[in-house]
Symmetry: C2
């Protein structure tokens, strides 16, 4: 199952020239998950050719404006374009109040069902699950309650070794059992081990989105060996103190988390608008964790 | 005093490719007035080189998202950039509740004073006045309470005819009286008429912003002979019925208002995103009122 992340914005609080506020699309086999929704997200979705009516879930990390101010506009546009398919929205509870108030004053009744799920910002929990994927929260350390999101593919079925199965006369109706890892007992009572009849399942991939947070070493344990990690990197080293007081991270700290968690690849984003050139941040991260890339708007990262 | 209008967006409810939501800057001798503030306005202000900290008043016509969703982001950016100068905000009362709630959840206390003035949507009134300009509301006919804004320069001082004044030995200390239109009585008791000693005052200019409204013929009387009129023109003729049911106007109806009001120039905007090419709307308006232009993003219209 292809899994990819499209960056729609990577600016922190004030947008920079050519950098917009946080938003990403996780494409999980053409099911689209929107992660954060800063101002103007609907325009960037259009710019990068994302089919907005395919978005089935929206995850909002916290209620600083740069992470959710594009939401009402996006929902309105979905409504105006005739959407009827339900959307699940996972966010801090107060967002429900804001949405209700804004739709009340505009006299809007959405044509589709908006199912709101309030996030517990104190305790990691599974907030979404379908046949392919689970989404859990990651508790971050920010100025206001803030969670990251861990997207993990479920354990996949093993692949049938057709030649071996034919050689052992395995009936077709037992193939589903094989995929789940069961051994086969033939008519003579002989056990044929599953690993002779199947190939290993493809690896279950994972993506962790760590939005605004102060340096939080304990995070590494929760995202251990994940395939792709997005971690905020608002500041360069020389602003380490400022990162601390504003509950943000430096690029180097993001890389330290990636290194400790032994992830495969790190994307850094949420850059302060003081940096017109991001090469310093990238270099500082790469010193600690080589496989780092910048979350440039429009970039698509495959999770593999 | 130069008076100009910069168009920052001209799309109706759903943004179109290359057309953003409603927002305009009225520049009144370098005092900046922001009129409506759709999503992404702060980016367009930056794009068109408007100094955001110079905005002193913001006027919001109504609480459909395409007219105000950029406001919180803009105020946040002003705050983050260190603004300390007060801002006056004129808007429907419910906007105060929305702003308070959004800043509460983001734990934000603005560094500057935000003075909120609730607009009466039932009755035309003067809502702002300084030494140069008055701003009055125009009651429009939309699905929810909605007002337009009429910006009028105050009556200006007459210009001194220096040669005539010297010929009549008018003392310098009387010049201010002359500017106000007073006659001069000399030491022999002779009256010298003001119009001999002065030139006419430059004309007092006016701009009317008529945001979302169904066709409203009575509007013409309130904006009679205004120099520049912006009037929404969401639809072409063939959608006249849809204009009616959605409380919007066609380009032709906007032009009819301009014609009846005998304005100097008409700008049409707030176009439905069904129109990728706006020439039909322009042509339909011009048939009724020749001096019509499209509110293209980035255009600057001098009021003269």
């Amino acid at each position: 199952m292809p899994l990819s992340v499209t960056i729609l914005g990577s600016s922190s609080a004030s947008p920079a020239l050519n950098r917009n506020h946080s938003a990403q699309i996780l494409n999980c086999n053409e099911n689209l998950f929107l992660i954060d929704c800063g101002e103007g997200t609907q325009n960037r979705l259009r710019k990068y050719g994302v089919k907005i009516q395919r978005i089935k879930c929206i995850f909002i990390s916290h209620l600083h404006g740069d992470h959710y101010l594009g939401l009402i506009g996006l929902l309105s546009t979905m409504h105006l374009l005739g959407r009827q398919t339900e959307i699940n929205l996972y966010a801090p509870a107060e967002l429900k109040e804001i949405i209700d108030l804004q739709f009340k004053v505009s006299d809007t009744t959405l044509r589709f069902k908006l199912s709101f799920f309030s996030i517990n910002s104190k305790k990691t929990e599974i907030i979404y699950e379908d046949k392919n994927i689970t989404v859990s929260t990651l508790i971050l350390n920010h100025r206001i309650p803030c969670t990251g999101f861990l997207f993990k593919e479920k354990r996949k079925a093993k692949k049938i070794n057709k030649i071996a199965c034919m050689a052992h006369n395995i009936p077709l109706e037992f193939y589903n059992e094989l995929k789940l890892g069961k051994d086969y007992k033939n008519t003579e009572g002989e056990i044929i081990k599953n690993n002779i009849l199947t190939f290993d399942a493809p690896p279950s991939l994972g993506y962790a989105y760590c939005s605004d947070t102060a340096y939080l070493p304990s995070l590494a344990e929760q995202i251990k060996k994940i395939d792709l990690l997005y971690h905020e990197a608002t500041f360069a080293n020389e602003q380490e103190e400022r990162a601390k007081t504003t509950f943000h991270s430096t690029a180097k700290q993001a890389a330290q988390i990636a290194k400790n968690a032994e992830v495969k690849k790190l994307i850094i984003g949420h850059f302060s608008n003081r940096y017109s050139n991001l090469q310093t941040l990238l270099a500082e991260a790469k010193e600690v964790f080589e496989n780092t890339e910048l979350a440039n708007e429009g970039n698509v990262f495959l999770v593999d």
